[in-house]
């Protein structure tokens, strides 16, 4: 009895070897993504950012919980909804904002824009605009690292609607058959554009799509950065030591439209409000305060600092030059 009580006095992450510093970093990373994107939305409204821009707001815990569990020599692939994972991976926000602005200082030199972030130094392999099209690339990278005798893992984020692409099933089969160190993190945010998952995927549990390959699989609360970290850590160990893939369904929600031009008539305001109560940043912040890891004032100060940093990124992007015209031809061939 006494033992039990003592146990509950422990924070729920006590089994995870997370330092206070690391916990604060996770919070910081989520907040940085949130503020970066809120600002990006404003700049889009002002016409500073063009084309298509998909925000990650609401889903931050998935990217941060996953990426915080990685090593520097691991790789990350993701879809066009890619700002969050890039920032979580430490891709600098100045260069990220500059990419949105289409400037030459951007991480893809202004050639890719919002959907095509990329930073090889950080093992951030993009940023891909064709839904599901990046999934076999992740398998290929995992194949290569295994072949090269490295114990890196490759993470492949994808939306739940992306699992409907044939290429994704082809990739799952290959990954399990070849025992590849790749982890598929399916960000189930309930919608593919305006189509609810119930109208798009047959069957109840999305993660069971991996069942026919007998792949390691499961679902995780994607609104909870600690749960993400916990489940990913298990999958990473399996990938590094046994060279086996995992398919994880992270249940999450996007607050904003599919892209900037989506009025969102396919869902109710109440539904959005319900999910906002589970907000990954707010809930985790409260927990950090409860466990005396930070104070309310600390978090407020952090928020102010982040906002200032994001503002500087906007200034950097604004002041950066356009790519020179001759750059159009420069990179068609190696």
């Amino acid at each position: 009895m006494k033992e039990e009580k003592k146990k509950t006095k422990q924070p729920r992450w006590s089994d995870l070897n997370l330092t206070n510093e690391k916990l604060i970093k996770m919070y910081h990373s989520m907040l940085l993504i949130r503020r970066f994107e809120e600002r990006a939305a404003q700049e889009y409204g002002k016409g500073k950012i063009g084309g298509f821009c998909h925000l990650y707001i609401g889903q931050e815990a998935v990217g941060v919980g996953t990426i915080e569990a990685l090593r520097e020599d691991d790789y990350i692939y993701t879809s066009y909804r890619d700002h969050g994972q890039a920032i979580a991976r430490g891709v600098p926000i100045n260069e990220s904002m500059a990419e949105l602005f289409g400037k030459v200082t951007g991480i893809s030199k202004g050639m890719g824009g919002s959907m095509h972030f990329y930073d090889i130094e950080k093992g951030f392999m993009g940023g891909w605009g064709i839904v599901g099209g990046h999934t076999p690339l992740a398998a290929g990278t995992a194949f290569a690292t295994k072949y090269q005798g490295r114990d890196s893992v490759t993470i492949c984020f994808l939306g739940e609607a992306a699992t409907n692409q044939g290429v994704f099933q082809e990739t799952l089969n290959m990954a399990e058959l070849w025992k590849l160190p790749v982890i598929f993190i399916c960000e189930n945010n309930g919608y593919g554009m305006g189509t609810a998952i119930s109208r798009a995927v047959a069957g109840d549990n999305l993660y069971e799509k991996a069942a026919s390959y007998m792949m390691n699989r499961g679902a995780v609360n994607g609104m909870d950065v600690i749960e993400m970290y916990r489940e990913i850590s298990k999958a990473i160990t399996i990938a590094r030591t046994e060279f086996k893939p995992t398919f994880l369904e992270a249940r999450t929600y996007r607050y904003r439209g599919h892209s900037m031009s989506d009025p969102g008539q396919y869902r109710t305001k109440e539904e959005i409000e319900e999910y906002k109560k589970l907000d990954p940043i707010e809930t985790f912040g409260r927990e950090l305060i409860e466990w005396n890891i930070v104070t309310e004032a600390d978090l407020e100060k952090m928020d102010e600092e982040i906002k200032a940093e994001v503002l500087k990124a906007v200034e950097f992007a604004d002041a950066s030059p356009q790519p020179p015209l001759e750059m159009l031809y420069e990179n068609v061939y190696a």
């Binding site: 084309g51 289409g102 890719g112 605009g129 064709i130 798009a200 396919y266 356009q322 015209l325």
Partner: protein
């Protein structure tokens, strides 16, 4: 605009409504669905969402979900299923959200769909709507003009309207055609181009081009978004250089209206072939070859071509502008031709 006035004077005196290019496509689809219950729509987000560009807004409510089918995100299956339905008496109209994504349905289209009639003598009356084109800062995967890939594959009819009038007449003709028709609709024209369209029913014959402006000195052979640039450039050549430019809008890319092309070239003796797709391997190469073969003795200048530059589409707005053809570039090409 000038174009609609031209059409009014030349083609009809009926009651007209001024509508946008996108409204013209919607109206054409709507009328055909009302007319023929074997016509149905299939595609991603076309129902509840009303389509990524809202071409099919309001269709679900009126026609119901049996005929306005929101599919899963799976282009291969959409095209394959449309083909399977078409061969047993349906007339599916499939929407590929952006023409770039047709890549994932490539095998279905070029292997299965395109060869059905040749193998079985069975008609495959389906339409694939393909919103295409750059100029909206969509970057490399949301800006393509992939018509040439399919132009190379026998078995398709291909159309690419430039005006609301043509857009409506061609979508209706495409739906009634007994072959697979690829319908390229330019995203930038959707809300930018308005024009007059008759209230009464009309069709535009697939395979027939249209002279959008008559002229005597140079022919511009073009289609889609570039028709508008060619018309603007023609006006500049007239007013600033005293050169009379004829603008031939192909409207159909397969089959090509070679008679119209040749008669225009034989009249002017100088020709610019222009399209928004990049130059190398574009349809303009084939048209140029046909002209040189059939109109050689009429030519006073080498055939000129204009298109996007041969690179992927960059996101950067100034680079995208540099990459794309525009009115200025058409003017420059025409001035060069005029010198011969």
């Amino acid at each position: 605009m000038q174009l609609s006035a031209f059409m009014r004077n030349n083609f009809f005196t009926e009651i007209m409504a001024t509508i946008t290019y996108i409204e013209a496509i919607s109206k054409g689809l709507w009328e055909e669905m009302e007319r023929d219950s074997s016509v149905f729509l299939i595609g991603e987000d076309i129902g509840v969402f009303g389509g990524a560009f809202k071409v099919t807004k309001g269709f679900l409510k009126h026609f119901g979900e049996e005929r306005v089918i929101d599919t899963v995100l799976a282009e291969t299956a959409i095209i394959g299923a449309a083909t399977g339905a078409a061969v047993v008496g349906m007339r599916p109209v499939a929407e590929i959200q952006f023409s770039d994504f047709v890549t994932t349905a490539f095998s279905q289209l070029v292997n299965n769909t395109a060869s059905i009639h040749y193998r079985w003598h069975l008609s495959c009356p389906m339409v694939v709507r393909l919103p295409s084109g750059a100029g909206i800062h969509g970057g490399p995967f949301h800006s393509r003009n992939p018509e040439a890939w399919f132009f190379h594959q026998p078995g398709f009819k291909i159309v690419a309207p430039s005006t609301p009038y043509d857009a409506k007449g061609l979508i209706k003709a495409a739906i009634r055609d007994n072959n697979p028709v690829l319908y390229f609709e330019h995203k930038r024209l959707y809300r930018h181009i308005k024009g007059e369209v008759p209230e009464t029913e009309y069709l535009i014959e697939i395979g027939k081009g249209d002279i959008k402006r008559e002229g005597n000195d140079i022919s511009v052979i073009t289609y889609g978004s570039m028709v508008h640039m060619a018309l603007e450039a023609a006006e500049v050549l007239r007013s600033e250089h005293g050169v009379s430019v004829e603008v031939v809008d192909l409207r159909s890319l397969m089959p090509l209206d070679t008679e119209l092309i040749f008669s225009s070239v034989r009249k002017t003796g100088k020709v610019l072939v222009a399209h928004e797709d990049n130059i190398t391997g574009g349809i303009g190469g084939e048209i140029s070859a046909l002209i040189s073969q059939h109109c050689f003795e009429y030519l006073d200048a080498p055939i000129q071509r204009l298109g996007s530059l041969d690179t992927p589409t960059p996101y950067s707005p100034p680079l995208e502008e540099f990459f794309l053809p525009n009115t200025k570039k058409v003017v420059a090409a025409l001035i060069e031709l005029a010198k011969y």
